[in-house]
Point group: none
Chain length 359, copies 2
């Protein structure tokens, strides 16, 4: 039972805008899309995220999904253009947006900020997916003038997209994301940057730990400069404290035989254990509920096509597929993801057809 | 065709020892297991990783899979007990082990260190799997006295287990893992430790970025104090450089409106982008040397197989393939990776055949 009624207008057809559109379309909600880039709009409409906006639309809810530095201006313009609509945005910083809107005398009763805690390191319409928000926190940020109706509509938006709404003030939100999002981003970037000094053969030893800790270092610098610039003080404070812990660790490593040095290292590692335990669902409440099957195939052209053709013959639908080429290795290891109820059937059928399963 | 001949003796039936045993047993190699814990040994033999070692064994190859701080002592004892066997170990640090063995006047001609770059979050015999090393780098670390026969046997061990052997000196190895393994571990621990100061509601906003960057902060402090203590100097040097980069970032965040502050942040983020690009793909391919082509396909069974079959007909070799299902979207977006010289040809041929390319 969908809570959102009327037309939803999405401004900005990037990752978040397209994902919101896809999710609403799945629910049968009327979605209209607008983006300053015609290519983005047409890609998002092609993907099924909604239809092109036009001047006769009468949206009930407007979701502004543009970069942080233009969010306030776009929200103000939407509030003015559509005097009956409730407007929200999805920018990662909230204090600065609200301050700008206040300065511009926008109608704050119809504005409620929001921030879905979901994303991917890849952006753009093409990365959009309808289930991006499932099970994720969605921060709802009312201001002192927001009408209860407006707040309710933004909460409904979160609920319809299967996210968990969580109400915070703009200041509370910005302090929290400094810790759980902005600090990890900077740390990951600084760590990955250290690889620039690496000798070629060093990075060949990279394992999953390095990959996980540096994954978000691939994020868009242009976007992140805006976010960090708009939330600089809380992030600076946290990064400074991390720097103090780091200096202590360096001192211990420089004199590993000094009394207490190993204890200092052990304490840092043990504090890390306790820190990670504070993260809810620390084992990564899996976003997808798919079963994984790994097949070992000969590393020669046509093998993967043959495998997929046979899976088609078996009649099992593939939900996800991952394959990373391994030069020099005599085998490829495609990872197949299927619905749990299809797993047993597929394993049996592949084995019967002579495929070799790994693990 | 298995390269390893004779009996393989594995000392230490944890994750690595058990996995090596399972892989060798699958190849029909005779494996004997020894562990100071009778429970571990019996668990590993029950799993099929080999049979219990006894005094009449005459191993040709001994693989020592015990914690780093006892590795040198166990290797020395094995060299002495089995004067005809070649001995290797799998410890994560190599300089200190070699230095200890040199001090103890061990027969270094029969010793070759090694380090398979594979693991799992879960340890113990029960987590063992025969395919743990498939496609992973396996560092082979000869010393100046290692006989060519001994080096060949350890390379064969890696090849038999379908890993990719990579020869480094002990110093080269330790410097490389300081960067790709030990630094990320410490950074992850220090970042996770910052969460101890968090207010309850803050960590509720945790997303995948925080989870990924702090995943390895859950690692065993006891093991890691040993590793870091045994490789302190190279790690200290790297962590110190990271601290300098961090201090620069703090300064920029403290004065975000100062001239050049945002540029400093942008540079740090952009350096992170370039750093993460240096990490080779999971099985050793450099991510950057392939061209990416994204195709929009109908989300119905058989479409991907049809695409891959046609790519085979076109005659282009696929280096990598990624597909993430996007529930709710009527299209799938497989990402094809090909050699840059094949890109133009493939784009033209796919377009001519009516496939729709995205982005």
């Amino acid at each position: 039972m969908t809570r959102t009624t009327g037309t939803v207008r999405i401004v900005g057809a990037g990752l978040l805008g397209t994902s919101i559109g896809l999710a609403f379309r799945k629910l049968g909600v009327n979605v209209v899309l607008s983006d300053s880039s015609p290519i983005s709009t047409s890609l998002a409409t092609d993907m099924g995220a909604g239809r092109l906006a036009n001047s006769s639309d009468t949206p009930a809810l407007i979701v502004v999904c543009v970069p942080p530095d233009v969010t306030a201006a776009v929200v103000a313009k939407e509030l003015e253009t559509y005097p009956n609509a409730v407007v929200t945005d999805v920018a990662s910083v909230k204090v600065e947006v609200l301050a700008s809107l206040t300065t511009e005398n926008a109608d704050l009763s119809r504005y409620v900020g929001s921030h879905p805690m979901a994303g991917r390191e890849r952006g753009g319409a093409i990365a959009g997916r309808a289930d991006l928000f499932v099970g994720r926190p969605w921060v709802v940020v009312p201001n002192h003038e927001s009408s209860p109706t407006a707040v309710g509509m933004v909460e409904n938006l979160a609920l319809d997209l299967e996210a968990t709404p969580l109400t915070l003030s703009a200041a509370e939100h910005d302090r929290a994301v400094a810790l759980v999002s902005h600090l990890p981003q900077l740390v990951s970037s600084l760590l990955a940057a250290r690889l620039l000094d690496a000798q070629g053969s060093d990075v060949n030893l990279a394992g999953q730990g390095l990959r996980d800790t540096t994954r978000i270092a691939a994020s868009d610098p242009k976007l992140w400069v805006q976010i960090l610039g708009a939330n600089a003080a809380p992030v600076a404070e946290l990064l400074k404290k991390l720097g103090q812990d780091l200096a202590e660790t360096v001192a211990a490593l420089e004199q590993p035989n000094a009394a207490g040095a190993l204890a200092t290292l052990g304490r840092a590692l043990e504090r890390g254990n306790r820190g990670v335990e504070r993260i809810p669902g620390k084992h990564g409440a899996s976003q997808t509920k798919y079963s994984q099957i790994v097949v070992m195939i000969d590393d020669k052209p046509g093998e993967l096509a043959r495998l997929l053709t046979e899976i088609g013959e078996i009649g099992v639908n593939l939900e996800d597929l991952k394959l990373e080429h391994s030069p020099g290795a005599p085998v490829g290891l495609p990872e197949l993801y299927v619905l749990p109820e299809a797993e047993k059937n597929l394993i049996a059928a592949l084995t019967a057809r002579g495929w070799r399963l790994a693990g």
